[in-house]
């Protein structure tokens, strides 16, 4: 099995000493037995049989990989990394450490905006700690996966329930199997194959025909009756793949990301400046 990569290499994230742009798929030979890869703009996280490794821009965080165990489930964005550790808890990399995030099962507090500020998380730490002191038992929520973007974090527990800002999301429907996070919106897929969207809809990324913002997950009505098997989200657009092999896309198309012609097609690309030999 061979590993190939292409794209921006300005921070040496693909090949340390290579050119800043790899315009064709290039074999990556210096890593053995890679089984998982996570990509951000300026760095890449690799998982090999020997452990985790980060290449590219590091932002002064050098001990990160040593503290990660093989079994962790990772989610990574340009500025943040979160994981489910071996105990099923959500941990977030902040200021050179892995911090455990606390969640509670009920919505005693109103769910606020979907991106937890550090202050909110710290507040909940204090509340959770004080509660556990009083009751001496906190039924630990076991999480199965976590999904991050620079300003959002959604955690999914083993029962398929979503949490954000430490509390469950206001959604009482079927179990969720996977979540995708964009720059300003979120998508989720239930085990029944229903797609939910919520967040800002200014570029049509909610797929509901409007440009407003919604605070709680709502099913995408146009996909009613179609069973979706997988979803993916870009910064401001969404893709849903049905069980019959049809792909549905919605959201922003300014660069042609939905597969329709776009104005940006006419602009000369950076590759026009280069000639290359492959």
């Amino acid at each position: 099995m061979a590993l190939v990569a292409c794209g921006l290499n300005a921070n040496g994230q693909i090949t340390p000493a290579g050119p800043p742009l790899l315009c064709c798929p290039t074999p990556v030979r210096d890593k053995k037995d890679v089984c998982e890869v996570h990509i951000a703009c300026s760095h890449i996280l690799w998982k090999t049989n020997a452990g985790w490794q980060i290449t590219g821009y590091r932002n002064l965080d050098y001990s990160l990989e040593e503290e990660m165990a093989q079994g962790w489930k990772i989610s990574m964005s340009e500025m943040r990394m979160a994981a489910i550790n071996d105990d099923g808890a959500v941990v977030l990399r902040e200021k050179g450490q892995w911090r455990k995030l606390f969640f509670q099962r009920d919505t005693a507090m109103d769910s606020r905006n979907l991106g937890p500020s550090v202050q909110q998380v710290e507040d909940q730490d204090r509340i959770a700690e004080s509660e556990s002191n009083v009751h001496h038992t906190t039924s630990q929520i076991k999480f199965s996966s976590v999904f991050v973007e620079d300003n959002s974090l959604i955690a999914l527990d083993e029962d398929g329930k979503m949490y954000s800002s430490g509390v469950p999301l206001p959604y009482g429907g079927s179990r969720i199997s996977v979540v995708e996070v964009g720059k300003e919106h979120c998508m989720a897929l239930t085990t029944d194959g229903v797609v939910l969207t919520w967040g800002s809809g200014m570029r049509g990324q909610l797929g509901n025909g409007e440009l407003c913002q919604i605070d709680r997950p709502e099913p995408v009505e146009s996909l009613q009756g179609i069973t979706i098997s997988s979803i993916a989200s870009g910064g401001w657009h969404c893709v849903a793949l049905s069980t019959s092999g049809d792909a549905y896309m919605w959201g922003w198309n300014e660069s042609g990301q939905l597969g329709f012609p776009a104005k940006a097609d006419q602009e000369a690309s950076i590759l026009g400046t280069f000639s290359h030999r492959c």
Partner: protein, 505 residues
């Protein structure tokens, strides 16, 4: 393995623009011009070329010094973990959307101040801005490198990364620092494109057509940086864009439209029912006391008789000056419609597709509320800000309104004083006073400063409106209108029209 060819060392590019322009001029003369093109640029003398190139070099040099200084400071900062490093900038950094129409409601009409305005003495507010943690990776994209190819990749990567930040959330919430980064990144990209073009011209391998395409790419990159970047003084992007406009235009095929050279007559009809009183050059104190202080609109005659723009602003002139420049266009009958949208076009494309030769049944396109005079400072030279506009506390802001017949600005009001000067063509305007507001606004408005009433629509649909008192008028070239703050106004163009508005408070 795929790799890029070994780059040559980057030379001092101070003479780049001069050489490039000379070579482009030479190649234009020796080759057959493509059929149907305008003759822009071919009659420029050597002396003019050199003069332009000298000015281009100077502004490039200023821009470069700013960029290099900025990058050294950033590299010094990457080793520290501080988040807030205040920068003092000599620009007033209000944020608004690139085409501010929608933001009427959102941000109470704050606008970017102009950049190279010579009529405004030192209008700069110090504006603190801060580095935040998510800007640190950007420093790694910024390495000024001797290897030009790598610099090109890094500069474009910087623009892509920054572009994502500029598109997240509301435009007016985007920190000014990200917009500054976009400006500097654009300057770097344009610099690299210039160097590439210079190399290509010396090598002689590419065709003239390819060189024109490169010039168009350079102008596009400048405009992108101007549109999304922050307003900064002495921005070299202006100079480079105007230097290469004429060659950039040659990269697109365009038929000449001789009708554009004819004078513009009033084509559509409009009846004036309640004419607004007019005044010819009222003295400043009369204007302040009788009109501004009393919120009374007035049609002003003779206040711009001396403007060169009245004689010069015709469609062919605009094409020659700025045909290849990117401008934002509003497409759709009015901005309250659900099908209304904004798009970016070159001025040549806009004038052909929406002004001179609109397709039957196509939606209207309006170059509205755009700071065209900041984007193309040469147009500023054709006019003088009326003295009345300086009677407020802040410097006046200029916007250009260029469009075909039939553009409509729905009934709305603005928070500032406004003098609207008609330069080319004719407009019908209706005015309702602020106390008529209850009759103008429907029960649940979408935008608090815009009425959905169709002013010239069926009267039965808007019964309340028929009871409201109004004034109306037709503005002809050389005539102006003073609109007080919060005064409702409705505007429809009766011909191809070019107006300039001055907002002040």
């Amino acid at each position: 393995m795929c790799s890029l060819p070994k780059p040559a060392n980057i030379d001092n590019n101070r003479d780049a623009e001069g050489e490039i322009l000379q070579k482009l001029a030479e190649s234009t003369k020796t080759e057959e011009p493509v059929v149907g093109k305008n003759r822009a640029g071919e009659t420029t003398t050597q002396a003019t070329l050199q003069e332009r190139a000298k000015r281009g070099r100077e502004s490039e040099a200023r821009g470069e010094r700013g960029l290099i200084k900025r990058t050294r400071e950033e590299e010094a900062h990457t080793d520290e973990e501080d988040e807030a490093k205040p920068l003092v900038l000599s620009s007033s950094g209000h944020a608004s959307s690139p085409t501010g129409r929608r933001s009427r409601e959102e941000n109470g009409f704050k606008d970017d101040e102009g950049t190279t305005d010579r009529t405004r003495p030192g209008a700069s507010n110090s504006y603190p801005s801060h580095f935040t943690e998510d800007m640190l990776p950007v420093a790694k994209f910024c390495g000024i490198s001797l290897r030009r190819r790598e610099a090109a990749v890094s500069a474009n990567a910087l623009l892509d990364y920054t572009w994502q930040k500029l598109n997240t959330g509301h435009w007016q919430d985007v920190p000014i620092t990200w917009r500054l980064v976009f400006t500097w990144g654009s300057i770097a990209v344009v610099h690299i494109l210039l160097a590439d073009l210079q190399l290509s011209l010396s090598g002689g391998a590419n065709t003239t057509q390819a060189h024109f395409s490169s010039a168009a790419e350079i102008v596009r990159a400048c405009d992108r940086g101007l549109l999304m970047g922050a307003p900064v003084g002495d921005n070299p992007l202006h100079k480079v864009a105007s230097l290469f406009n004429s060659h950039a235009r040659l990269s697109a095929t365009m038929a000449d439209l001789p009708a554009e050279a004819l004078p513009v007559a009033q084509q559509d009809k409009a009846t004036v029912h309640f004419p607004l009183p007019s005044g010819r050059c009222p003295p400043l104190d009369r204007f302040l006391l009788n009109y501004m202080n009393k919120s009374v609109p007035v049609k002003l005659l003779g206040i711009v008789d001396h403007w060169p723009a009245l004689k010069m602003w015709r469609i062919p002139y605009l094409r020659e000056l700025a045909g290849a420049r990117t401008v934002p266009v509003e497409v759709g009958a009015r901005y309250t419609d659900s099908t209304w949208s904004q798009t970016l076009l070159t001025l040549d494309e806009y004038l052909t597709r929406y002004v001179s030769q609109p397709a039957a049944g196509a939606p209207t396109g309006y170059l509205a509320q755009h700071q065209l005079l900041d984007q193309i400072p040469e147009l500023r030279d054709d006019l003088l800000v009326p003295d009345y506009c300086h009677l407020g506390e802040e410097e006046p802001r200029l916007h250009a309104w260029l469009g075909p017949r039939g553009t409509v600005s729905p009934l709305h009001h603005d928070p500032d004083h406004n003098i609207l000067v008609q330069v080319l063509g004719y407009k019908y305007i209706r005015l309702y006073a602020e106390d008529q507001s209850p009759l103008c606004i429907p029960p649940r408005p979408l935008l608090s400063n815009t009425s959905q009433a169709e002013i010239e629509g069926p009267q039965a649909d808007w019964p309340l409106l028929q009871q409201a008192q109004y004034h109306d008028l037709i503005l002809a070239p050389g005539e102006s209108l003073y609109i007080p703050p919060r005064y409702w106004h409705y505007v429809r163009s009766l011909s191809t029209s070019f107006s300039v508005s001055f907002w002040w408070r």
